[in-house]
């Protein structure tokens, strides 16, 4: 069907429909919702990283306002229990409230209710807990090699999953040059500016639980509530209203999303819990933290032969719903190769349990780690071979003529020109100019360095892959529900959740593209399990591909019905009609959607006899066929300036050359890339959740945990390649996460390039001034 052309369709930088309410201060977040007789919750949290024989004493006078794990157990509430089908995965329950053992500082122990948060916090302080301390497992390597204790006794060790990815290892013999490095990417907190928030109430009329939660996955949360609380699906209604950022932290279930609704049902009053920043920085320090020892093998000409690696992922204490605690370790193990050609592959990847918060899939999911490891190893190799890292990359990237390309571990790159992306980045950053500048010393004695980072990102995880990975939520056909309203507008229900990605605009653009209608007449309804069809939600850079695809396909079904009515009103053959500018166009004349809507709703006596009783309201679905994912990719390049006396790092220039296939809204794509890149800068230089030897968190305020700010990234430049994916509607590829993947690699490479004179390298994020000075000091010994 020819798409109705419109300036508001695919490719247009349409200004965002959702902006107005935020600019007016009229956005509605969970914390903005108040209910009569609502109680506020404060949570008693574990002060220790590891202990047993936990016992809780409620304040005498307020017994009925404090709830513990015992109360939940006696009510038959089931714990979160995510066993991956992945062979060898060791199962563990995630109790909503700690029972018997405490496994990380900040773990929820009891929930206290009062009319105000302050009064609830008073109750929390009056609730006494006692326990017998155990040695804490704090470091992931110790956890794997020499554990001081066991996080889950029944396992016998702390290794959740030990997996080996080995392909054509024999080819490794052909290698003549090898470099070996050990890298570490430290733990972070995701830090959306709105933390987690839950408001739960029982609706006696509908006989159902209504939960407002700041979530990326309302339908999955609904499933979890049914499983844990033993409710029927039609007894739960989940709404994710405006959500102040998610980045992955909100695409997993948190215990509060179960026990706050449960206590609301106990007290028969609405109950609200708003996570404060300290709770977030302590209980949600749950991202990144990988350890790599990597050996990169090449021949004397610099052709990559193979990679060997031993990866350890610190998965924290528990397995999160639905993405489990092995998502990162398996993804890291399988795709360490990145965009490069290899003829041998041997990677061991272990997920280990420690006494820290359970790891969640933060923007980029594992890829910032593997990109950091691989890209730094490549620069090390270049230095060893005495060649330009840029050239070494160019030489080993999968060439465009090899597309579609089967990777050594069985993945399939769908399309793209990786080398062109690198070439453009090199041009934009003007590598030659940097090199020539480097030849003479800086007047102020500072050091200049340039670095690159390339990556590929599998977007919109598909059914079979998710099933292989053994996830608890397997995406199938993404659906959209579309209704033509009596005035000719569209109401579109989607199960994904929009929290900054601008989907109320971009998804509407798809309908505009299909029907050529005014975007003002398209309303996107999302994040509400009642008004939208089922969806596994927003994560894995999937929403534009999947929900967008579903809308396109559903528009086609609806379009047929609209044309059938239109043909009747135009007194012409169905086959002679088409849709453009929200009209059905016939051979001689046209009829508007508004007219067709009027006839269906208000004057059905004018309908054709053969009209489909299904009417002008349709639910249909989409998934790529074959069931593969499109790969986005990009090269980031940057120039840094280092003060060798203080170890301070300054980003002088930053460029990005990316390809996310067909671009729906360039303004929004740039916004996603830039926002992601700054988070990457945070990973590279600033953000770290530190722990002491006992597993006590040391970064519980923004004074200790440094967030990237407006001064930390110069105006970067973004260049777009557009290689439509053959797999998706309009050739769209996902791009929400990509920006956050390569900055640690590019920046660290630039730093190491600047430090090359010292013959030292930084190998751990964030690259703090201390770490730089320690590296420099290392060279002097």
């Amino acid at each position: 069907m020819p798409d109705g052309a419109t300036v508001q369709g695919i490719g247009a930088s349409v200004l965002r429909k959702e902006d107005k309410r935020f600019l007016d201060g009229h956005g509605r977040y969970v914390a903005d919702i108040v209910r009569p007789r609502m109680l506020e919750a404060a949570i008693v949290r574990s002060p220790t990283a590891h202990a047993e024989k936990l016992s809780v004493t409620k304040p005498d006078l307020e017994q009925q306002r404090v709830f513990t794990a015992e109360d939940m157990l006696s009510d038959g509430v089931k714990p979160i229990h995510v066993i991956s089908k992945y062979p060898g995965h060791k199962p563990s329950d995630y109790p909503h409230l700690a029972i018997g053992k405490l496994r990380f500082v900040g773990e929820a122990v009891a929930v206290c209710l009062a009319d105000t948060r302050a009064a609830a916090e008073d109750l929390a302080t009056q609730t006494k807990i006692s326990f017998d301390p155990l040695p804490a497992i704090v470091d992931m390597v110790d956890a794997a090699e020499s554990p001081p204790a066991l996080v889950h006794e029944q396992w016998g060790d702390n290794v959740i999953l030990d997996s080996l990815f080995e392909e054509k290892a024999s080819n490794l013999d052909r290698a003549t040059v090898s470099v070996t490095r050990t890298f570490r990417m430290n733990r972070q907190a995701v830090n959306p500016l709105e933390g987690a928030a839950v408001l739960a109430e029982w609706d006696a009329r509908e006989e159902r639980l209504v939960v407002h939660s700041s979530s990326q996955i309302p339908h999955i949360l609904k499933n979890a509530l049914c499983e844990c609380l033993g409710l029927r699906q039609n007894q739960v209604h989940v709404i994710a209203p405006d959500v102040g950022g998610g980045f992955g932290y909100k695409c997993v279930l948190i215990p509060e999303e179960i026990f706050i609704p449960w206590v609301a049902m106990q007290v028969k009053q609405p109950v609200r819990w708003i996570q404060d920043r300290r709770e977030h920085l302590i209980a949600a320090a749950n991202a990144r933290e990988h350890h790599y020892s990597v050996t990169l093998h090449a021949d004397t000409d610099g052709n990559f032969i193979g990679v060997e690696a031993d990866i350890i992922v610190d998965s924290g204490a528990y397995s999160v719903y639905p993405h489990s605690n092995i998502l990162e370790s398996t993804m890291a193990g399988r795709t360490l190769h990145g965009p490069y050609k290899f003829s041998a592959y041997k990677v061991r990847s272990r997920a280990v349990a420690t006494n820290k918060p359970p790891i969640v899939p933060y923007r980029g999911v594992a890829r910032p780690g593997i990109c950091f490891a691989m890209e730094l190893a490549i620069d090390a190799m270049a230095r060893k071979l005495g060649c330009e890292p840029y050239d070494l990359r160019m030489q080993n990237l999968v060439p465009s003529d090899a597309m579609p390309y089967k990777t050594i571990t069985g993945g399939e790159f769908d399309s793209g020109d990786y080398q062109e992306a690198l070439r453009r980045a090199g041009t934009l950053i003007d590598l030659k100019a940097v090199r020539s500048r480097q030849r003479q010393d800086e007047a102020d004695g500072r050091l200049i360095g340039v670095g690159f980072g390339c990556y590929i990102e599998m977007t919109a995880l598909q059914t079979s892959a998710a099933a292989r990975a053994g996830l608890a939520a397997i995406p199938g056909y993404e659906q959209a529900h579309i209704r033509l309203t009596p005035d000719g507008g569209l109401e579109i229900g989607v199960g994904v959740q929009n929290h900054g990605q601008g989907m109320e605009t971009t998804l509407a653009q798809v309908a505009c593209e299909r029907f050529g209608m005014d975007i003002a007449m398209v309303a996107i309804r999302h994040g509400d399990t009642a008004t939208s069809p089922y969806s596994t939600g927003t994560y894995a850079s999937r929403s534009m591909i999947m929900a967008g695809g579903a809308i396109a396909r559903t528009c086609d079904v609806l379009g047929v019905q609209i044309r059938r009515i239109g043909a009747h009103l135009l007194q012409c053959e169905f086959d002679d009609t088409s849709i453009r500018d929200a009209c059905v166009i016939g051979p001689s004349s046209a009829v508007t959607f508004a007219e067709i809507a009027r006839v269906w709703h208000r004057n059905p006596e004018e309908l054709p006899a053969d009209v489909d009783p299904a009417g002008v309201e349709v639910t249909s679905g989409f998934r790529p066929s074959p069931d593969n994912s499109p790969f986005s990719y990009a090269t980031h390049a940057c120039v840094v300036r280092i003060d060798p006396e203080l170890g301070h790092v300054e980003l002088l220039d930053y460029v990005i050359s990316e390809d996310c296939g067909t671009i729906v809204n360039p303004m929004i794509v740039d916004g996603q890339i830039i926002g992601g890149a700054l988070q990457g800068v945070g990973t590279a230089l600033y953000e770290e959740s530190c722990y002491d030897a006992d597993g006590q968190p040391l970064s519980s305020t923004f004074a200790d945990y440094m967030m990237p700010g407006s001064t930390h990234l110069p105006n970067l430049r973004v260049d777009h390649l557009v290689t439509p994916s053959p797999l998706t509607e309009y050739g769209v590829k996902g791009l929400g996460e990509g920006g956050a993947i390569p900055p640690p690699a590019a920046i660290a490479n630039a730093i190491n390039d600047a430090l090359r004179g010292y013959g030292v390298e930084v190998v751990e994020t964030p690259v703090t001034p201390r770490r730089i000075l320690e590296a420099i000091a290392g060279s002097k010994t």
Partner: protein, 789 residues
């Protein structure tokens, strides 16, 4: 019988106890007036204190200007406009707040907003409205007089429109040797659902949407009206009818207060609540029935009714209501007067007049209580005249079962049934012979006994063609239902109609059970929310069970096919080998539960077949009967009354009902609807009247003046059912929500006249108050004395 083989008799025909009871018995129902939001404000209206006047000035008390709004203060708020396509129909706009002129006492003139209703009423009390009082038109017959004042100045008279038909009446009438002439009047009433109107409006900035919780039967039509008259896009309006405390018709129309609340919540940026109090309802809701009949029946001495000639006048009040207009009753009276009888000739003129009273609304039964009253009372008059039992005349003249389907002289397409049989059964049940025997002997307390009956046929769930022929501003089309299988194998059923006592949360679940064999307890029925349900013109015209029920059946069947595809794949067999039974997909190889189907679609799509429908396990499908001329329910009511000659007080001693609504979905609910309807009929017959003085001031503004039927007024009804399935509808269901109210005034009126025949008195105007009965008796005595002298 059941497509899916229903779960231990919970499908069609089962006396399933209601799912909705639990919350109401626990006091956990949620009605519009139960809503409360922080920062909410309440509205109180300044209402016209006179029936007809020009507004000279409205003076806002100093310091309260910001809290008071008149029509001038609400720019862009359009008047309600309900245009009929009937020839000669005169349009009248209905302003939400009176502009320039008030046309009935109680018409909203200004609205006051405050933190509490009491405060708002304080302000309303201080507003001074100066009127230039005009003579009021308070009687529908006077309204037709050439010198009558005009309700709408731009019209040349007070007649909204006329209908007239005459198929060569005179020729056939000439055969008649018996001619009965009568004049009947059915007076104005208020519908009085126990919950009055209530509105809660809130602007949702996140959705850029007006959220309106309102006590309505027709949420989607209210959405249309709000969008139209507030100038909003449809996407900017979501209407939700939560629990609704009865409707009976007055909640099937857009109300001025709904428009004002929707306007003000956006203007004032705060939630707005308005709860109609009983006085407001009795004054502004005095909007139904009020017909006048000048009827002539031509018959033969052996009781054959040949021709019917009638002049009908309908008092439509001041305005045309949205969307049903003020043309509905006149058109329906014209088409329904001959009832179930087979006349050779029919001549009818209807005139619908405007008066200075609230705009007429379609109250349960819509015009038919009036026409049935006139027709059935006239038949008994004929019976007395020719000395024949009235039921014999009825049976003799009714359309016989053998003639079905039958096109009546008033162009009604009767589908099925044995009308005469219902009369015969009713006569047996009431024990006519025993009553006749007892009538000679006066009771010890000096009361006299009478027996009477009324028969009717009711067109229900009539569709597109019928409504478009009436020119109504709203035409129903395909009714739709959305069904969604949930991941645990439960069913969500979404319908655009609204259930406010009819028990649809149960009966619609029974329908799903009938098709899919799923336990009704696992079916959640969602209704009354434009955001969640497919479009529907809503609940009225006894249509919901036929239309939404039919749509539910159709949607469930499509869902069944979708589930069969998945089930067949899971059982590794062909589509053709599987079927749905007892809430499972079954085949020779075994069975797959709905829960399993749900699990696979939602949680393990990796197990889905390639040919699965991408629409998944969520379906919207529509239904419309073919032909859509309606399913005709009918019944005969018979009752026995005692009458205190000295006080004129009437008591209903026994009341029997024989009804046929086709296939019965839930007998308990059908009987509940029938008893409730009949009791409203008793109200019409004996108690309820919205009185007006000659200035048009309402005389019944509290329950002390307006008599509602209580437990002491209603008898322990006895009911018997006939079941003639309609050939036109899913499962042969006919609508029946309204029927109970239709023949009661006729049956009781006939019983009174039967008792009074020894005195020679006749009552001809409802309600039959002691005062009217006494007046009839006195008149008869005066006549006798006159004759004697």
């Amino acid at each position: 019988m059941a497509d899916g083989g229903s779960v231990d008799g919970k499908g069609i025909g089962a006396r399933v106890l209601r799912k909705e009871d639990a919350r109401h018995l626990a006091g956990k129902g949620k009605f519009t007036s139960d809503f409360k939001r922080p920062g909410q404000k309440e509205m109180a209206f300044v209402r016209a204190s006179v029936a007809h006047a020009h507004i000279k000035s409205i003076v806002k008390p100093a310091g309260y200007e910001h809290a008071i709004f008149t029509s001038e203060d609400l720019p862009g708020l359009k008047p309600m406009r309900a245009l009929s396509k009937l020839p000669g129909y005169k349009l009248s706009d209905y302003p939400a707040l009176a502009a320039g002129k008030v046309r009935f006492a109680g018409e909203p003139v200004a609205v006051c907003v405050a933190d509490s209703r009491a405060d708002a009423e304080d302000i309303a009390q201080m507003v001074e409205v100066e009127y230039d009082i005009l003579p009021a038109v308070t009687d529908m017959l006077a309204a037709k007089k050439p010198d009558a004042p005009l309700v709408h100045d731009e019209w040349e008279d007070n007649i909204v429109f006329e209908t007239f038909s005459d198929d060569d009446f005179q020729k056939i009438a000439d055969e008649a040797t018996v001619v009965i002439r009568r004049e009947y009047r059915m007076n104005r009433q208020a519908m009085n659902p126990m919950e009055g109107k209530a509105v809660f409006a809130e602007w949702d900035d996140r959705q850029d949407q007006l959220m309106m919780w309102t006590s309505t039967q027709v949420p989607h039509l209210i959405r249309n009206g709000l969008a139209e008259f507030l100038d909003l896009e449809q996407r900017q309006v979501r209407v939700i009818a939560p629990d609704v405390g009865g409707g009976f018709g007055c909640k099937a129309l857009l109300q001025p207060e709904e428009l004002v609340a929707g306007y003000l919540t956006r203007k004032l940026e705060c939630p707005i609540r308005w709860i109609e109090d009983r006085r407001e309802h009795l004054v502004t809701g005095a909007n139904c029935r009020e017909h006048h009949y000048q009827i002539t029946l031509h018959a033969t001495p052996d009781g054959r009714m040949l021709g019917l000639d009638c002049d009908v006048t309908v008092d439509a009040g001041a305005y045309s209501v949205y969307p049903f207009t003020n043309g509905l009753e006149g058109a329906m009276a014209h088409g329904n007067l001959p009832g179930p009888y087979n006349f050779k000739a029919y001549k009818c003129r209807t005139q619908t007049t405007v008066t200075n009273k609230p705009g007429l609304m379609p109250y349960r039964g819509v015009a038919r209580p009036g026409v049935c009253f006139a027709m059935e009372m006239t038949i008994d008059a004929l019976a007395r005249e020719i000395g024949m039992e009235a039921h014999e005349i009825r049976m003799k003249n009714m359309v016989p079962e053998s003639a079905m389907p039958f096109m009546s002289i008033a162009k009604k397409h009767f589908d099925s049934g044995n009308y005469a049989k219902s009369v015969e059964m009713a006569v047996d049940m009431i024990g006519l012979e025993k009553v006749r025997a007892s009538q000679g002997v006066p009771t010890d307390d000096g009361r006299i006994i009478g027996v009477g009956m009324g028969s009717y046929v009711e067109q229900t769930a009539h569709g597109t063609s019928v409504f478009s022929s009436w020119g109504v501003a709203m035409v129903p089309g395909y009714e739709q239902a959305t069904v969604r299988l949930t991941p645990d194998g439960g069913l969500e059923l979404r319908i655009g109609v609204q259930s406010h006592g009819q028990g649809m949360e149960t009966s619609m679940a029974q329908m799903a059970c009938e098709v899919l064999g799923i336990d009704p307890d696992n079916v959640m029925v969602t209704h009354g929310d434009t955001g969640l349900t497919p479009y529907s013109t809503g609940t009225y015209a006894s249509r919901s069970m036929v239309m939404a029920g039919g749509a539910t059946a159709r949607a469930c069947r499509v869902l069944a096919e979708r589930m069969e595809i998945i089930g067949a794949h899971l059982m590794q067999c062909e589509r053709t080998e599987v079927s749905i039974a007892g809430g499972k997909v079954v085949s020779g190889k075994g069975e797959v539960s709905f829960a399993e189907i749900g699990r696979v679609w939602y949680l393990n799509p990796d197990e889905l077949p390639e040919d699965v429908d991408q629409g998944g396990v969520e379906v919207t499908m529509g239904y419309r009967p073919e032909p859509d001329s309606g399913a005709f329910t009918y019944a005969s009511h018979a009752c026995k009354i005692s009458l205190d000659v000295e006080t004129g007080k009437v008591k209903v001693l026994d009341y029997v009902i024989v009804e046929d609504c086709g296939t019965i979905v839930n007998p308990m609910i059908v009987e509940g609807q029938t008893f409730g309807g009949a009791t409203q009929g008793i109200g019409t017959a004996l108690l309820e009247e919205s009185l007006y003085d000659e200035m048009g001031n309402p005389g019944a503004s509290t329950f002390a003046d307006y008599m509602m039927p209580s437990a002491t007024d209603a008898p322990m009804y006895r009911v018997d059912h006939m079941e003639s399935p309609s050939p036109f509808t899913e499962y042969g269901i006919k609508g029946m929500g309204e029927g109970g109210t239709i023949p009661t005034p006729a049956a009781i009126g006939n019983a009174i006249n039967d008792a009074l025949k020894q005195i020679g008195a006749e009552v001809m105007e409802t309600p039959f108050t002691p005062r009217r009965v006494r007046a009839a008796i006195e008149a008869a005595r005066d006549r006798k004395e006159g004759e004697a002298a």
